[in-house]
């Protein structure tokens, strides 16, 4: 059964953390809430958990002031800083949700024992069941926190930047591990993160948020390759950004000394400002114009950085602006490009975003 959130709003003082947010979470999916700090993603997660209450709108779970118990609520929450019970062993931490149940609903001791060990095996920490949290590494602690949340068989698993406090290497491993775990258990999960790589790698769908609003909801592929707004485009992945103005149905980009075609859906009034986005790996860099009639512009190679899986080239165009492109090692070798060469840069793909109708007082359209 999908979870529906309708028109949620929440303010802290004068700061609007959430502004009219609506979302549907599908059963069994792993959803990522992605955005910079202050975007409202953590607030949204906490409202889902019942840790905070929205000022307006309806959420699916409604916590009274000390009323309902676990059996009714069934939300699992994993905190960024684990929030493990420091004075209890790993086993007691994971068993906690089961041992606090009222007598009539509480499982027998043997059953609790079995369930806890099963979960610990699932997170590969069975051998450490009798250790205390401060004897564990950060990655291990997070896995215990996960097992603890799963012990109560939640309807929804909520994770608040679960890997944020960890070493980069450990983070990568746990990401893959979480993906596998989710595939195995299949519980609906919502993950909050500011790391776009993490969201794109782990989630079934991504919700990109900014300043309390949802910018776009879609699969990782959709949000990356078909961003719905400037914000989404610049937030996800590397990007080159240029300013231009519409003239004669095209966008004149002074910095490049070229004109690019307008997108079909944009407003086409002359004189309207526009911004053109190109991803570094969508640029073809070659000695000569490939002659296919695509708009291209000239630039000089300023720096070549070949250390890594792909080659990163920094260029300076005619107007003195900087841009960067990503090539494979083969492409670099084929043309034998080097610093100082004058080249033709052809964007294979680009996005153009225009200002909405003349600047109003709400000043939308900027980050």
């Amino acid at each position: 059964m999908p979870i529906t959130l309708e028109r949620l709003s929440k303010r802290f003082g004068r700061f609007a953390a959430l502004d009219d947010v609506s979302l549907t979470i599908e059963d069994g999916e792993l959803l990522a809430l992605l955005g910079p700090s202050g975007s409202g993603k953590t607030t949204l997660l906490r409202i889902l958990a019942g840790l905070d209450v929205p000022d307006a709108g309806s959420g699916p779970v409604d916590f009274g002031d000390g009323g309902d118990r676990a059996d009714e609520r069934r939300v699992g929450f994993v905190f960024q800083h684990y929030a493990l019970f420091q004075h209890m062993t790993v086993f007691d931490n994971v068993a906690f949700g089961l041992t606090v149940r009222p007598r009539r609903v509480r499982p027998e001791r043997e059953e609790i024992h079995d369930r806890v060990h099963k979960l610990l095996r699932l997170v590969q920490l069975d051998a450490l069941a009798h250790r205390y949290p401060n004897q564990l590494s950060g990655g291990q602690r997070q896995r215990v926190a996960l097992a603890r949340a799963l012990a109560v068989e939640p309807r929804v698993l909520l994770l608040d930047e679960p890997f944020g406090a960890l070493d980069a290497r450990v983070r990568k491993e746990l990401r893959a591990w979480l993906r596998r775990l989710h595939a195995e258990i299949g519980v609906t999960s919502v993950l909050v993160t500011h790391d776009q790589e993490e969201a794109l790698e782990v989630a079934d769908r991504v919700v990109v948020m900014n300043q309390g609003r949802i910018e776009q909801v879609g699969t990782p592929d959709e949000v990356f390759h078909h961003p719905a707004s400037e914000f989404v485009m610049s937030f996800l992945g590397d990007v080159n950004r240029f300013h231009g103005r519409i003239s004669n149905g095209k966008v004149q980009v002074e910095e490049l000394g070229a004109a690019v075609p307008l997108e079909a859906t944009s407003a086409s009034a002359d004189g309207v400002n526009a911004r053109v986005f190109m991803r570094p790996h969508d640029l073809t860099v070659a000695r000569d114009d490939d002659g296919a009639g695509q708009p291209s512009f000239s630039a000089t190679i300023v720096r070549v950085n070949a250390a890594g899986p792909s080659v990163r080239i920094e260029l300076e165009n005619a107007a003195g602006g900087a841009l960067h492109a990503t090539l494979s090692a083969d492409e670099l070798a084929r043309d034998q490009l080097a610093v100082g060469d004058r080249v033709q840069v052809t964007p294979r793909r680009m996005r153009v975003f225009t200002d909405p109708t003349p600047v109003g007082t709400d000043g939308k359209g900027g980050a």
Partner: protein, 303 residues
């Protein structure tokens, strides 16, 4: 700095010259010995001035016995009551946001700034014969001032901040996350308090109890004002000391005083022990965290 400082083996390059250091040490030892240890020693010396027999006799006196009982009774009521209050106040203040928190905290600090005599006086003005509720109490034949209830109330007034003031900063520092996690796992209020909160603050709680108890048993000024000094009925140990002294029964006065001094020493020992345990627990936790963190990096590089 010039080179001669570094060539001196006994001179720490970044320290005071030796003579300053040793003068300060000498000064400290002498002044503390004079100011603190000498009075302590003199209590026992005066108490035993006429031999151990006279010393022991002072405690078999029925008035002394009843003073002891009353002191213990007052502490047995005041300390648990203040512990309960302290936990409630700390829970409300450290776990929730609300208007008037500053005022509440200031009110909790108030008894510590007020003179003990004023603390007793306010109760006399409230419950005394000429006080606000005086006529009401007289009509119903309830005695508060010059009776045990008054002593208990005055003691509670001067001692209730101790536990709360220990718990509040500790709980504020610890943050709400573990309790929130417990709630989300389905724990009820009492379960959260008992299984998550209290175990985390146990040293602070114990520290507060030790201080609260010391003050409850030793309070003089406030109790003196409300008690009426009725021998055998409304005298606590400190008041009994005063009575004996005023009767020029010096040895007995010091004997009883020495029992209170022993109580003070026990308090100091307990307090220091609790502080050391708390410190050690923190260091241990920090050490293990460090170790675990290093293990993790190693593990990550080997994976």
């Amino acid at each position: 700095m010039s080179g001669d400082h570094t060539s001196h083996p006994g001179r720490h390059r970044l320290g005071e010259p030796r003579w300053v250091r040793w003068s300060l040490i000498g000064f400290t030892v002498v002044s503390l010995a004079l100011l603190l240890l000498l009075p302590l020693v003199s209590i026992f010396s005066e108490a035993l001035a006429r031999g151990f027999g006279a010393f022991a006799e002072s405690f078999s006196d029925p008035a002394a016995r009843s003073a002891m009982r009353l002191t213990l009774l007052v502490a047995a009521i005041a300390v648990p009551a203040n512990v309960a209050f302290g936990i409630c106040a700390a829970w409300a203040i450290a776990r929730f946001d609300f208007r008037g928190k500053t005022l509440l905290t200031a009110l909790i600090d108030l008894p510590l700034a007020v003179s003990p005599v004023v603390s007793g006086l306010v109760y006399v003005l409230l419950f005394g014969l000429q006080g606000w509720l005086g006529p009401f109490l007289a009509r119903h034949d309830i005695q508060i001032i010059f009776a045990v209830p008054g002593i208990v109330l005055a003691t509670i007034f001067v001692t209730f901040p101790y536990v709360a003031r220990e718990l509040i900063p500790v709980m504020e520092e610890q943050g709400r996350e573990q309790e929130e996690a417990a709630r989300l796992l389905g724990a009820g209020g009492w379960q959260i308090l008992w299984r998550v909160t209290l175990p985390r603050v146990k040293w602070a709680l114990l520290h507060g109890v030790v201080l609260c108890n010391a003050r409850a048993m030793g309070e003089f000024g406030a109790v003196s004002v409300v008690s009426g000094h009725i021998r055998g009925k409304t005298n606590t140990l400190p008041l009994h000391v005063e009575i004996l002294y005023n009767e020029y029964n010096t040895v007995a006065a010091f004997a009883v005083a020495s029992s209170l001094a022993i109580l003070a020493l026990v308090t100091l020992v307990l307090k220091t022990w609790v502080e050391r345990r708390a410190e050690r627990a923190q260091e241990e936790a920090a050490r293990l965290e460090d170790q675990a963190g290093r293990e993790e990096v190693v593990y990550a590089h080997h994976a």
